[in-house]
Amino acid sequence: MVDILAVNLLTKTFGRLRAVDSLTFEVREGEILGVMGPNGAGKTTLFNLLTGVYKPDEGDIQYQGKDISHESPAKRCRRGIGRTYQIPRPFDKLTVFENLLVGAVHGGGLSEKRARGKVQDILNLIGLMSKTDHFAGSLPLLDRKTLELGRALATQPTLILLDEIAGGLTEKEATKVLGIVRKISEQGITIVWIEHLLMMMAEGADRLLAISEGRWLQCGDPKEVMNSTEVLDGYLGAEEE
C-alpha cells in the first residue's frame, strides 16, 4: 500500500512543554490507523498539527507526496483531510442539513445544487435523515457525534481524522458509530482514529500507533502494540496510576 500521509520528526512545543516530540510515522492509503496514548500524550495536538490549526516548530507533514506543513486549515481540507472533534462542535444555529452543506460546498468544492444530493446520501449513511431540519445545537450527544462524522465526510475527504468519536457514548451507541466508521472505511477513505476504548481499537484498526509524552512508542499490529512492554509501561502503567 502507498503512503497517503508521512509525518517526519514533527515537533510542537507550548512554552517548556513538548506536546509532540520528534514524531515520525506514516499512514497507508485505505487503512484505519488507530492512535493510542494516555491523557496528555499529544494525540489531539497531533490532529491540530495535521489539520493546520497549529503550525509545527520542527519537522514536516507530507500529504500525497506534497509538503503541507505550512498550508492553511482550509486548504488542507480541500486537499482531502477531514476531521471530527473530541467534543462535538457543530454549527449550533445551522440545521443538520446546513452543517453538512458547509462541508460539501466549501471543503468538497461542490456547487450547492450538486452538494444537496451528496448531503442526502450522507444523511442516509449517518442515520440523521429524520432530523434534517433540526438545529444542530438541539441534538443529543449521539446525533452530535454522528453529525461530526457526516460533516467530515461531506468535505469529500481521502483521509479522515477521528478524535474520540465514541467517547462518552454507551456501548450500544458506540457500536452504531463503529458501524458508520466501517462503512466510511469501505468507501476507500483512509482513517486515523484516536480512541480511548482500546477494545474498539483492537476491533476496528488495521494498525495501531502508540505515543506517550508526544513521542513515538510503538506502531504495528493492534494486539502486538497493546501487549508490548513499552506500551504497557508508557500507557497502561500510566492509566493504573
Partner: protein, 314 residues
C-alpha cells in the same frame, strides 16, 4: 396556512416597496424626510450587521467610510464638476480602496484590537482632513451638486440603497460566501477546518461594507449640503449603527430594518429634547440588552421561529 403566508412574503415585500416608491407623490414632506432617513440608516446598519453579525468583525470605524464617501462627493462635484450620482459611486469606490488599505494593517488584529484599530484609522482621518488645505481644513465644504437635484431624486437614491442593501445581504447569505459566513458566525476555527476561507470571506465583507457605507454617506451628505471633518469622521456614526443593530437583532436580516425604523422614529420624536435624546436612546438600548439580548427580531426568531427573509437552506 403558515407556509402560505411565508410563501406570499415576496408579494407583500414588493407591494411595500411599491408603496414606498410613491411616497414623493403623496406630498407629505415630513414623511418623505422620515422615509429617506430610514433608508439611509438601514443601508449603513445593514453593512455593520454584515460585519459584526455574520463576519465576526466588530468595526468601530465605519465613520471612516462615511467621511470618505461624503468628502469624495463634495470634492468631485465642487472641484471637478463630476455628475453627482457618479460622485456617489466614486465615494463608494474610494471607501472600498480605503478599506483595502486599512485591511493591510487591521486584519492582522483580532477581536477588540481589530475594533480599536478601525477606530484609530477614523481618528487619523479626522486629523488629516481637518488639517488638509485641499478640503478647507476643519471649516468643511458646501456641496454644490452637479446638476442641481430635487428632494425627490435624493429620496429615490436613498430608497435604492436602503432596499438594495437588504437585497445585497440576502443575496450574500444565500451564496457560497454567505453559507461560510453563517458557519464562521457559529465557530470560526471549525469552519476553517471545513474548507471555509475565513480571511478572504472577512475581507470581501469588509470591502462590500466599505463600498455601500461610502455610497450611502454620499447621498446623506448631498441631502445635508455641508460636510465637516469633526462630524463626518465622528464615532457617533458607529454608535448609532450599533444601537440600530443591537435593538433590531444582530445577525438577522430583519434586525436592521426594525432597528433603523425605531431609531429614526425615536431620534425624530426626541429631536426637540436634543440634550437628553442620546441618554434616552442609550437607556432604551440597555433595556433591550437586558430583556431581549438578541434584539427584537433575534428574540422573535428564537421564540416563535419568525423570519421574513430567511437565508436558510432546506
Amino acid at each position: 396556512m403558515k407556509k402560505a403566508i411565508y410563501n406570499s412574503r415576496w408579494y407583500v415585500l414588493a407591494a411595500l416597496v411599491l408603496i414606498l416608491g410613491i411616497v414623493p407623490l403623496m406630498g407629505d414632506q415630513y414623511l418623505l424626510f422620515f422615509c429617506m432617513l430610514f433608508f439611509l440608516y438601514l443601508a449603513l446598519a445593514q453593512m455593520w450587521n454584515l460585519l459584526a453579525g455574520y463576519s465576526g468583525l466588530i468595526s468601530l470605524g465605519q465613520q471612516s467610510f462615511v467621511g470618505m464617501g461624503g468628502y469624495v462627493v463634495a470634492v468631485m462635484s465642487n472641484y471637478y464638476g463630476v455628475y453627482i450620482w457618479l460622485g456617489v459611486l466614486l465615494g463608494g469606490v474610494f471607501s472600498a480602496l480605503l478599506g483595502l488599505f486599512m485591511s493591510l494593517f487591521i486584519f492582522r488584529m483580532k477581536g477588540v484590537y481589530f475594533a480599536i484599530g478601525t477606530w484609530i484609522f477614523s481618528e487619523a482621518l479626522l486629523i488629516w482632513f481637518s488639517n488638509w488645505e485641499y478640503t478647507k481644513y476643519g471649516m468643511g465644504l458646501f456641496i454644490k451638486p452637479n446638476p442641481n437635484i430635487s428632494m425627490t431624486e435624493i429620496y429615490y437614491a436613498s430608497l435604492i440603497v436602503g432596499v438594495g442593501s437588504v437585497a445585497l445581504v440576502y443575496g450574500i447569505l444565500r451564496s457560497k460566501l454567505g453559507l461560510g459566513l453563517m458557519a464562521m458566525r457559529d465557530d470560526e476555527a471549525v469552519s476553517e477546518t471545513m474548507g471555509v476561507e475565513v480571511f478572504r470571506s472577512k475581507l470581501y465583507c469588509f470591502l462590500i461594507g466599505a463600498f455601500v457605507t461610502g455610497s450611502t454617506a454620499g447621498i446623506l451628505y448631498i441631502f445635508q449640503v455641508f460636510i465637516q471633518p469633526y462630524k463626518a469622521f465622528a464615532i457617533d456614526w458607529t454608535v448609532k449603527l450599533v444601537f440600530i443593530v443591537i435593538i433590531g437583532g444582530i445577525g438577522t436580516l430583519e434586525g436592521p430594518i426594525v432597528g433603523a425604523f425605531v431609531f429614526v422614529l425615536l431620534s425624530q420624536t426626541l429631536a426637540e429634547y436634543f440634550s437628553v435624546s442620546m441618554l434616552i436612546l442609550g437607556a432604551i438600548a440597555i433595556l433591550v440588552i437586558l430583556i431581549a439580548p438578541k434584539g427584537i427580531m433575534g428574540t422573535l426568531q428564537e421564540k416563535l421561529g419568525f423570519e421574513i427573509l430567511s437565508p436558510r437552506r432546506k
